[in-house]
Symmetry: C2
Subunit: 385 residues, 2 copies
């Protein structure tokens, strides 16, 4: 390959659209192809990207000579099949969260990537600048080891229009699979990665959608550090009330949707992904801050940390200090890391084994709730940051 | 007794001083006597309260005909002995938290109160107006049952001057016994009282004091509701940053102590309780808001709740609504409840069985951490609010 990486995007839903949106920010990666089974989505993309190949099947795109890598943004239940297809086509991979629906699917993905000597990276909020910076503060030793990690998120996930698969746990739907991935990634990253055990209770309290809408989880790391994870996706309280109004994109959150617009049923995929997409519609006014996925408080031996609007607040016996972070570039940052990993042939965070370990935690959250007991984990890997 | 209740205060430390401070707010209760082993504390009190009896022993005060009730504010390890002495003297009781150090001590207190037909009430932040109001919203059925409770508190507990016993877990010291009492009371009250199991990790990370300084606890109620409790007392991040600067007294918290004034050793009781006491010294400027013991988020089937500065915020599909609360009167409110309970001969919240159940949770938090497993509870009682 040349010093430009040609990317194929598998799936033009919200995640795929977000990749398209962020691609222009990194000149070393260019769009080579897109694939989607939905004609309308493909047509809209073709109109805007006339030079990119267009495929109606991911498998076909993965055989194209016009791409070096694939961003897997298809439905969760397809991640494994599509990642294996990409690897077998010799393409490097970034995979959306969750990595897959089972540990054996993860194994197949990891094996295919290894066999074909391609990079397999995970889309992960653990790689966002504030989370990396927290990890950096810990590994620097400045305030000692982590002793207590707590993460809360309350957001209106179930009140946005959702596809049927997003509301079906068997297909990777519900907030444990779809939102827990991020929270667990963040907490695992800060805590060093190696979760020893999980005790959790999940809830299915939405009046119409029979999938997880909330969970409370107690994790313990191998070094004994406890972590508390709380997520509620029903749309009452919103965590941005406690994060300067800043949400996941780093921008002030839009005003809440007018009340009364309660979502009653899953939406049709064609309707949902009619233009404009959510990625484009989201408010992007004003200066961009760092992204907030709820509120995470990290206590160490000699101080505490949490995100500030543009970096971190570090609390020690010298008072509160603000630490700046590198600008947040969203998926462009992940494309850059993929580019560097491919170019330099070295491992990058977060890889397939990391994604599998996070999935193991998610599955344990659901298993613990079902069985009413603590679950021991077997497939954890350390954070390489 | 007449329609005035004569109160004896056992112990003139912070809690006893707070009772003295709040007594004038309730005309139906008057000071009859005080008891403390420390001559200086007694002398200072006598100067301000010339009509009250003064005793150097709680047992002696409990035989006085000049009191109808005793507020037990002696060190935690003395609560049981002093409560039994009060009951055997025919005195009604309000006991500071934690109720005692063991469940068998609680049993002796409960039995003595029953045998002597006196009220045994617990000082508890679960009785504060915002917590009562949350419970009231739940029992009203307006937003359905509780499905998820989460409570965080980060405060500089270990950086205040502390007596040796406050830093000795064997004597009821450390933040599980001394601060966990409040957090568990609040969460049990909102959740209905009946905790089924506890999984927790406690930490002893203070560089000089070998007692619990933080904990993370996962509780499950008998109806399945999960609760997450996080407490950190080392003095880095302060939770009032997220509660409009309002702390436990309902007033804006004073500026932090100048940095560098780190506490290195336990303090001498005589020095600590020299005038002015902390209860008097605390900033009490401006309008009084409701008290905040950290931040507690309560999710129910149809909405969420948290405290607002002067009441509750209720989040439902109709948006955010503020619910006012009765004014916070601190220990005067508890004296009024004792007065009414005595006058009307009826049970009041929170009684001895409640205090014992909260202690059971605290002991389980420490046991779970020590043994690395979930602890099942046997002595829980429902919230009568």
């Amino acid at each position: 390959m040349a010093h430009t990486l040609k990317l194929g995007i598998a799936g033009l839903g919200n995640a795929g659209q977000a990749v398209l949106r962020d691609l222009p920010a990194i000149s070393e990666v260019v769009l080579g192809a897109v694939a989607d089974v939905r004609e309308k989505a493909v047509a809209a993309c073709r109109a805007k990207n006339p030079h990119a190949e267009v495929h109606s099947s991911v498998e076909a795109m993965c055989q194209s000579r016009n791409i070096d890598a694939v961003w897997i943004a298809t439905p969760n239940e397809c991640h494994a099949v599509h990642a294996v297809a990409a690897a077998n086509g010799g393409k490097h991979i970034i995979c959306e969260k969750p990595m897959a629906l089972s540990l054996s699917e993860c194994d197949r993905m990891i094996e295919a990537a290894a066999k074909n000597r391609v990079q397999l990276l995970m889309h992960s909020k653990a790689g966002d600048p504030p989370i990396r910076k927290m990890r950096e503060v810990i590994t620097s030793g400045r305030i000692g080891r982590a002793i207590q990690i707590s993460s809360w998120n309350y957001k209106s996930w179930l009140n946005y229009p959702r596809l049927p698969a997003e509301l079906d746990t068997a297909k990777g739907g519900g907030i444990v699979f779809r939102q827990g991935s991020h929270q667990v990634d963040i907490v695992r990253c800060v805590g060093g990665g190696l979760v020893k055990s999980v005790r959790a209770v999940t809830g299915r309290w939405h009046p119409r959608f029979d999938t997880e809408g909330n969970y409370t989880a107690f994790l313990q790391f191998a070094d004994g550090t406890p972590a508390s994870l709380v997520f509620n996706g029903y749309g009452g309280f919103d965590m941005t009330e406690l994060t300067w109004g800043i949400g996941e994109g780093g921008y002030p959150t839009a005003e809440r949707a007018a009340k009364g617009s309660v979502v009653d049923a899953p939406v049709d995929p064609i309707e949902k992904y009619s233009e404009p997409t959510r990625a484009e519609r989201r408010r992007r006014d004003g200066a961009r801050h760092q992204p907030f996925f709820g509120l995470t408080l990290v206590s160490c031996e000699k101080g505490d940390m949490r995100q500030s609007p543009d970096g971190l607040y570090l609390y020690t016996d010298r008072g509160r200090e603000e630490i700046p972070c590198a600008p947040f570039t969203d998926r462009a940052g992940e494309l850059r890391r993929l580019y560097e990993a491919v170019l330099e042939g070295r491992p990058e965070f977060a890889d397939g084994r990391w994604g599998k370990a996070t999935l193991e935690v998610l599955l344990a959250i659901m298993e613990s709730s079902k069985e009413g007991r603590e679950i021991s984990l077997q497939h954890q890997v350390p954070c390489t940051l």
